[in-house]
């Protein structure tokens, strides 16, 4: 090479080197910043900690995890191939299989996976202090939740958008598939019962909140009729009109609360509210979907996007101080919100914000049928879950930014802290979290409620936290009550959307199962079958809801862990399927990617299931509680008028123990089935048979982004 050529090449060489060095430096800085912020929140023992550290720690960790770990998964483990046509290209029908722009699909996917779980779970887990929950939200998402969502999405893309149940049947075994389907139905029933309980606890004895939520139903009907008959399919204008009306009824709720006669109409106890919600869900499931269910879902999606964005902006703007200690005394298992030690119950309680089995249903449902390129699965599968985890971190900040005494007052049942405000304030102050009954009375008045005591479920305490953050941004103390009811409406709307959509999907599952026994029952349009199957599914989750409402320990104590266990068991199922597929693909070397989170989930769910069934502490063990109540009856300590209630309570506790045992054993059977498969593959006894769709090269140009020609 001549000297002149070398001189010409040198600048290019150095420019690329410097650029590369610059990129490395940026990522090293992000990593160091994240590590520093994590260190700050983990080791800070000062007066109070600014919430901005949580945001920095979380965002930096997410960026590094996305840049490094997800890139490794995409390139080495899954070897995403953009020359391969995705299901949306091969089967494009303009209906189910629709090639969709990466950012739009991210929005769809996120709107589908983001539910009330990451808001409620971290709020409840805040009783252990802010540290364990925050660490698990970040680490759990990066190494387990995002991995599950991403890999299941990938597997489903390679199988024309097949569901997790179908994949389990084909790749693991027929029995495995059946178990997975049954597990999905069982888990859905528990999930719906528990989230309905959160709504009941948020609305009971609150005319303002009940009025607001009740009004969302006629508003949804109005939007439904508009979108069907007036301007078919014009979702944006219909929804914006509905959102405007909802914001108005949030404001108008205060007039209802101030009017004695109207306030009486909308002041409902737990049991009537529970039945009202069951009737609503039955109607939403049985009525035409365009009338009630779909328009409510649109409204919820818009308000969800707006409220999450507002919460993030509020935290950045106000930068509240976190008043909860990093660890509380309740890590020993004596927590008032729910009983159980930090291991495994912190992980079980956080659930969806770190890893959610339910996401595998979305990742193997609509999203794979709309994805444009395989490489988009990284951004959509891994990225959307990171954002969900961030919602969880924000919920944790909102819960921990309020005075700890207030947090415990809202979330503890009277049987633990005491029935009167003074007794409860004394108990909570005795734990080292100073509180007076006047503080609670003043706060309840400021947010426009009659009382804030005993509102277990996470929604009201999160609403107080959010309202304090929002009111510090706009409006001050004067608008605290409006913000509080906006937050309650947002959470309740959110949850009712899960309830009605879940009930309808559950109805289809019941019809499908029933159709195997008696053919006509399986016809989804046959009215008697529609009504009966809707009643069956509502009856099933409604029983859990009713049981939670009448439970003297608050219901959340028994049912949220049951929900967490079932959700995490489903995640274990999804990871079993993912591991099996990876083994069949010959990725034995990297199998720890799914095997380790799966093993961790099996450990925490099995430990939690075991403790929830047989632990000797009546607040933890279902059977111990049943036995303690039975002993009280035997000793004649239960008055005659409470006898029937107590007997029902005993039955419910035994039922919960049975349900936990059945769920855990179903997953054990599935794991055994998978182990047999894995052994056969690893010992080369059976040639691994993958059920992937055959490779078809893409016809799209390299830069195609889902934009129809002539649009741009």
């Amino acid at each position: 090479m001549r000297a002149a050529q070398i001189v010409a090449i040198l600048p290019c060489f150095w420019v690329s080197r410097v650029k590369r060095l610059g990129r490395i430096l940026v990522w090293v800085t992000v990593a160091l910043l994240g590590a520093g912020a994590l260190g700050k929140i983990a080791l800070d023992r000062g007066e109070s900690l600014n919430a901005i550290w949580f945001v920095i720690a979380a965002v930096c960790c997410y960026l590094v995890a996305y840049r490094l770990y997800s890139a490794f998964l995409a390139a080495r483990l899954l070897a995403l191939d953009d020359t391969r046509a995705t299901p949306s290209e091969r089967n494009d029908d303009g209906r189910d299989f629709v090639p969709t722009n990466k950012w739009v699909l991210f929005g769809h996917h996120f709107a589908a996976i983001a539910g009330p779980g990451p808001l409620v779970g971290p709020t409840l887990a805040a009783q252990f202090g802010y540290l364990p929950g925050t660490l698990w939200l970040i680490a759990g998402a990066a190494f387990a939740g995002c991995v599950q969502d991403f890999i299941i999405l990938f597997c489903s893309i390679r199988r024309d958008g097949k569901s997790i149940g179908q994949m389990a049947r084909e790749e693991v075994s027929k029995r495995g598939g059946f178990i997975a389907q049954l597990a999905v139905l069982a888990i859905m029933v528990i999930l719906l019962g528990v989230v309905a309980l959160v709504v009941v606890n948020a609305l009971k004895a609150s005319p303002w909140a009940t009025f607001t939520l009740a009004m969302t139903i006629p508003i949804a009907l109005l939007v439904g009729v508009y979108l069907r008959f007036v301007r078919p399919g014009r979702v944006l204008e219909g929804s914006l009109m509905g959102v405007g009306l909802i914001l108005f009824v949030v404001f108008a709720g205060q007039w209802v609360a101030d009017s004695p006669s109207w306030a009486r109409v909308f002041t409902l106890g737990g049991v009537p509210l529970a039945f009202a919600i069951m009737v609503y869900a039955f109607a939403a499931s049985a009525l035409p979907v365009w009338l009630l269910l779909a328009p409510r879902d649109y409204l919820s999606a818009f308000i969800k996007a707006g409220a999450i964005f507002a919460l993030a902006a509020g935290i950045l703007f106000v930068r509240p101080h976190v008043l909860m200690p990093p660890l509380t005394r309740f890590i020993d298992g004596s927590g008032p919100v729910f009983a159980g030690k930090i291991f495994p119950f912190c992980f079980i309680t956080i659930a969806c914000g770190a890893i959610s089995g339910f996401h595998s249903l979305i990742s193997s449902g609509t999203t794979p049928k709309m994805i444009l390129r395989e490489s988009h699965a990284r951004f959509i599968g891994y990225g959307a879950m990171l954002l969900e985890s961030f919602v969880g971190v924000m919920a944790m900040v909102a819960a921990c930014a309020m005075t700890p005494g207030v947090y415990f007052a809202i979330n503890s049942p009277p049987s633990i802290v005491g029935a009167t405000p003074d007794a409860a304030a004394a108990t909570i102050s005795g734990w080292g979290f100073p509180l007076t009954a006047q503080t609670m009375a003043g706060l309840a008045h400021a947010v426009g409620e009659q009382t804030l005591w005993n509102r277990a479920g996470g929604a009201p305490s999160l609403a107080v936290g959010m309202a304090q953050i929002f009111s510090n941004t706009i409006g001050g103390e004067r608008l605290l009550s409006i913000w509080y009811h906006f937050a309650i409406m947002f959470e309740a709307l959110f949850i009712l959307t899960v309830l009605d959509a879940g009930t309808r999907v559950g109805r289809f599952m019941v019809q499908e199962l029933g159709g195997r026994v008696w053919k006509p029952f399986g016809r989804t349009g046959w009215m008697p079958s529609v009504l009966l199957s809707s009643a069956i599914i509502v009856g099933m989750w409604g029983y859990f809801l009713y049981q939670g409402v009448v439970d003297p320990l608050g219901g959340i104590n028994s049912l949220w862990p049951l929900f967490g266990i079932s959700n995490q068991l489903l995640a274990a199922v999804a990871l079993v399927v993912a591991t099996t597929i990876l083994l069949k693909m010959g990725r034995t070397h990297w199998i720890w990617v799914t095997l380790l989170p799966m093993a961790w989930l099996v450990i925490i769910t099995m430990t939690a299931s075991y403790q929830k069934i047989v632990d000797a502490n009546p607040r933890i063990g279902f059977l111990a509680n049943a036995n303690a109540l039975a002993a009280q009856i035997a000793a004649g300590k239960i008055p005659g008028d409470k006898l029937v209630d107590t007997q029902r309570l005993i039955f419910n506790q035994r039922l919960d123990a049975g349900v936990t045992a059945v769920l855990a054993s179903m997953v054990v059977v599935l794991i055994v089935e998978a182990l047999v498969q894995w052994y056969a593959i690893l010992s080369s006894r059976r040639a691994p048979m993958l059920h992937e769709s055959p490779y078809v090269p893409t016809q799209w140009a390299e830069g195609y982004s889902g934009v129809a020609q002539g649009d741009d």
Binding site: N101, V195, P232, V235, A301, V498, V505, T524
Partner: protein, 66 residues
């Protein structure tokens, strides 16, 4: 300056189109384009029919999560 204004307009147009795609406003237009491209023999659905069919399909499988 002129270029910057053009870029902003293009970005705004893209954003607007993204929002319409996300919320489902553009679904019928997409269906029409798709069925025109495929030259389907069967009758083309009206906006109302398509909207109702689309909803029935979407809400018969898990599409909202916890």
């Amino acid at each position: 300056m002129h270029d910057a204004a053009k870029n902003i307009r293009r970005l705004a147009r893209r954003f607007w189109r993204g929002v319409r795609e996300w919320c489902g406003d553009a679904a019928y237009e997409r269906y029409l384009r798709c069925s025109a491209a495929q030259g389907e023999g069967c009758r083309r659905l009206t906006a109302e029919e398509f909207y109702v069919q689309q909803l029935n399909r979407r809400y018969s499988r898990p599409n909202r999560c916890c």
